[in-house]
């Protein structure tokens, strides 16, 4: 039973791992921290997995736990699984659309997002994931009105960082 559960978890996580990577990219500044947060999110997901009933999509369920881990639970650890899987911290856009200027702009954008607070980063993350304001307010635990207000402030702050 435990083996089946493990197998089901690992298979689904392997498939949807990009969500965790995206969260890690926003909340960490280097490869080690990225791997470390990835591991902590995986542990938290595994702990919560027995209660996952499949009512929500696996990916939706992952968003919450990944963000909650990054924002509240995460503390740096040295007990990280040594893996060479995540060898290159610099993301690349798919080759057919690869554009030097675009990538440079994206790098600047990521650098600007990293200057935001943890809460603002979560809002921007959910915006980039194309979540609507109802979903954003549910994930954040704030009203839709407040989510809109906070989102506009975060966008304004980003604009200021990018165009000082």
């Amino acid at each position: 039973m435990e083996k089946e559960l493990e197998h089901s978890f690992v298979t689904q996580l392997e498939k949807h791992q990009n969500i965790i990577h995206k969260v890690c990219r926003l909340y960490t500044n280097n490869q080690d921290a990225h791997n470390d947060l990835f591991q902590e999110v995986t542990i938290q997901l595994w702990r919560a997995f027995p209660k996952f009933r499949g009512e929500a999509k696996f990916s939706t369920w992952m968003y919450r736990i990944a963000l909650n881990t990054a924002i509240t639970l995460y503390r740096k650890s040295k007990r990280r699984v040594q893996t060479n899987d995540i060898a290159d911290f610099n993301f690349k856009i798919k080759s057919e659309e690869y554009d030097d200027t675009e990538e440079e702009q994206l790098k600047l954008m990521y650098a600007a997002i990293k200057q935001l607070s943890d809460i603002e980063k979560a809002l921007i993350f959910l915006y980039l994931e194309e979540k609507n304001y109802r979903e954003i307010s549910e994930t954040m635990g704030i009203s839709e009105v407040n989510a809109r207000v906070k989102m506009n402030r975060a966008k304004g702050k980003l604009k200021k960082i990018l165009n000082p």
């Binding site: 493990e6 690992v10 298979t11 996580l13 392997e14 791992q17 990219r25 591991q39 902590e40 995986t42 542990i43 595994w46 702990r47 919560a48 369920w61 919450r64 736990i65 909650n68 881990t69 924002i71 509240t72 639970l73 503390r75 740096k76 650890s77 007990r79 990280r80 699984v81 893996t83 899987d85 995540i86 060898a87 290159d88 993301f91 690349k92 856009i93 798919k94 659309e97 675009e102 702009q105 994206l106 600047l108 954008m109 990521y110 607070s117 943890d118 809460i119 979560a122 921007i124 915006y127 980039l128 194309e130 994930t139 954040m140 635990g141 207000v149 906070k150 966008k155 604009k159 990018l162």
Partner: protein, 205 residues
């Protein structure tokens, strides 16, 4: 915002080197290093220490301290009841901590759990301070019994004052050092949580 919309377009095209199933299997065997785990461990230590001090108060006769019986009874009952009540409150709050909650709810629940134990520690420290004050008062003002005879200590008021001052300063230093380590420890663990909680709470104002 143009730049953000550009990022939105490229957001899902980001390719990240995949973590293998084998590595994921290894990861789930690892222990968590989450702040909640550490808060839980520290809270448990505090509760256990509180319970032990309650039990010590219960089984240890305090007659030699010359304390009035009403004070002994109150302290003994408080020493047992307070840890039990707070242990119950702590576990009830701890059970509410759930990683699938909303961000605000999770932060609320962690902070509430932590506050329960903080209250417990402050009550315990207050009890210790009251005990020290009463013990000091009764030891210095009551006659002492030697071989069934009542004797009055042959020391002056000035000596009383110096002794009281030394005891108060010593107690304050010990409690102060404990509080310093305590708040430093929690300060490190709770800094991120408090900051994020404050930011979300400000939206409701």
């Amino acid at each position: 915002m143009e730049e953000l919309d550009k990022l939105k377009k490229s957001w899902n095209k980001n390719i990240h080197p995949k973590v293998s199933a084998e590595s994921i299997y290894k990861m789930i065997l690892k222990k968590s290093s989450s702040a909640v785990k550490w808060i839980f461990i520290i809270c448990m230590i505090e509760l256990v220490l509180g319970l032990i001090s309650g039990i010590v108060l219960l089984i240890n006769p305090k007659n030699e301290l010359n304390l009035p019986s009403w004070l002994e009874t109150t302290v003994t009952i408080a020493g047992i009841l307070i840890p039990i009540i707070y242990s119950y409150k702590f576990f009830k709050n701890y059970q509410r901590i759930n990683t699938t909650s909303s961000i605000k709810e999770l932060l609320d629940n962690i902070i509430k759990t932590r506050k329960t134990v903080k209250q417990f520690v402050l009550i315990n420290l207050s009890l210790i301070a009251i005990m020290v004050a009463f013990t000091l008062y009764y030891t210095l003002t009551m006659p002492i019994g030697i071989n069934n005879e009542i004797a009055y200590p042959l020391i002056t008021i000035k000596d009383y004052f110096i002794l009281a001052l030394v005891i108060i300063i010593f107690t304050a230093i010990v409690i102060g050092a404990c509080l310093f380590v305590y708040f430093l420890l929690y300060g490190i663990l709770m800094r991120k949580l408090n900051k994020n909680h404050k930011e979300l709470k400000q939206l409701d104002l």
